[in-house]
Every structure is written in C-alpha cells, then in structure tokens.
Symmetry: C2
Subunit: 176 residues, 2 copies
C-alpha cells in the first residue's frame, strides 16, 4: 500500500513521561510525526492525543499495536478510514495598516475567521478549519506580509454518536 | 518563587526526533508538561511548539536555556509575563435528542461556538477560547451527558506587531 497520512487517536494516562514514550516509539520506527496534539479528554486523568503520521497501512498498524501495548495506553484507534470531523486552529499575525486593514477584514469575514488583536501595524486572526482551509487563508494573507503563525496541529473525532473510548470498539488483537 | 504555569514558545527545525528530545529534556528534569502543541510556523521547515509547564520562574528558566541549546532549536521564549493572546480549541460530542437539542443550541450560541456534526442522538460542538471558557462550556454541557472531548492544548502569541522569531528578541545568554 502507498504511504498516506493516518490519523491516530490515543487515550493515555496523564503521567510524566508518557509523551516521551510515545514520541520515542515513533522515532525508533523511523516515523516522522506530521503533527501531535495532547490535551484533556472527557475523563479525568486521561489525556487524548491526536497523532498524524505518514506511512503504509501495514506499518502504521504495527506502530498502533505497539502504542496499544504501553502500560499508560488506554486505547489507540486509527480513524483514518472512518467518517470524521477534522479541525485545526491557527493564530496568524499579519501586517495591517490603515490602507490594507479593510481588505484583510473582508478576507477574514469570507473565511469566518475572527480578529482577536489589533495594533496600528498588525492584526492577529484566529481561524479554525481543516488544513486546506488554513493553508488557503495563509496563501491569501501572504500578499500583506505574514509576521507570525502558530498552528495547533490536527484534532479529530468520529461523526455520529459512537465514541473512541467505548470499550466495545477496542480491536481484538489476538494475532499479536 | 511559587510554582506557576509558564507558556514557552519554541521554534525548532522540523526533523524526526525533535519532539522526542524536547519531551526527554522536560522528563529528565522532572517537569510534567501540562500541554504541548506542535504545528507549522510562518517559516518553511520550522515547527512552532507551545509548551505549558508548571514550575518556579528559576527552574523554568533553566529548562528554557537547555532547550535553547538543542541544535534543532532556533529560538525559545517564555512569554508568560508578556501581553499575549491565548487560545485552545475543543471538539465536544454531547448527547442530544429532540427534547434537549434546542437548549444545547442556545448554550452553543452564547459561547459563540459552532455545531459541526449532528446525528439523531448527538451533536459535535467546536469551540475556541481560553481554558476557562472551554471549562465553563464543558461544565454546562455535563447536564446533557458528554460523550467525547478532544482539546488541542494551548497556543499563544504576543499581542502587537513584534514577533517571537525576530532576531532582535533572542535573549543574551553570555552567562550560560
């Protein structure tokens, strides 16, 4: 299978060193993590990681299984082929003077983004969407001079009412 | 000084193993990372990490200096005491039936959040804001049963037109 971007969701115990172990596991197998985000989940003391990684289906499945074996791991799921909501957030600082501010504000409106800081020489724009939407906005703003960008990396969730943490969805791994 | 949450911004080369080294550095010093996000920056091949960590000013400054010494590190700045924009994004899957949907939609409106998926039994809500705002919304939604939450962790940027990547802001570290 050709390499493609996979989105893994991992529920892990919120303990020191967990991120280190996860990063190490991908590193040892030669995977470059495209993005990783870690934040609180719906359960106390459980963090939820969204990991985007390039690789063939078989190699990603191998690393998913290894991740599942870490003692801090509650659950890991590859949700790439499911129907999912994918989002990223960015803050973009763009040069804006009295001459260009209104044109930038029009673009911000079209992208349903928000202006969260204004100075005489710049604006900070907050935008959410999939990676393509964020890239398109960044491309348009390049004309005005982008001064600074911070992006969260991808977070994702399956559509509908089933959840990643449901015990029934833990894959059977008897073949390990 | 009493421990408090510090927000570090690190610009690092986008190479395999960088996240591993950064996580390792905090781990060895006994810091538990509260949140870490990694994404693209305004420069090609440079990633920007936002790291939230608990500690005294002096101990965080020590780890900041060590981080600055990694060969992949372009710049690290502790922006805690600056005037900053702080944001986090969450996707929240909440139980919603025909009886509760409109009440949930009212709450979503008040928080200027968005509904990004609807099923007969659930909604997915996208919300951005500081951690307190996200916590407040989650508390309100608990009444309806929260099924799943994914949060990005904090991203941050200094207000006004100066930027973290400006060479002029690199701190002098002759005392290292």
């Amino acid at each position: 299978m050709a390499p493609m971007k996979h989105t893994l969701v991992a529920l892990v115990e919120d303990k020191p060193g967990v991120l280190n172990r996860v990063a190490n596991l991908f590193r040892r197998r030669g995977f470059n993590i495209d993005s990783i985000t870690v934040g609180h989940s719906e359960k106390p003391d459980i963090s939820r990681m969204t990991i985007v990684v390039d690789g063939s289906g078989a190699s990603v499945e191998q690393v998913r299984k290894q991740l599942d074996k870490l003692i801090e791991t509650v659950k890991v799921q590859d949700i790439t082929s499911e129907s999912i909501v994918v989002r990223e957030m960015a803050l973009i600082k763009v040069k804006a003077t009295s001459a260009t501010r209104s044109e930038i504000m029009q673009i911000v409106d079209i992208f349903r983004a928000n202006i969260v800081d204004v100075s005489m020489e710049s604006l900070i724009i907050e935008v959410t969407g999939d990676e393509e939407k964020l890239d398109s906005l960044l491309n348009l703003l390049r004309t005005f001079e982008i001064k600074e960008v911070v992006r969260t990396g991808r977070i994702a969730m399956t559509r509908g009412s089933t959840t990643t943490s449901e015990p029934g969805r833990k894959p059977i791994s008897a073949e390990d």
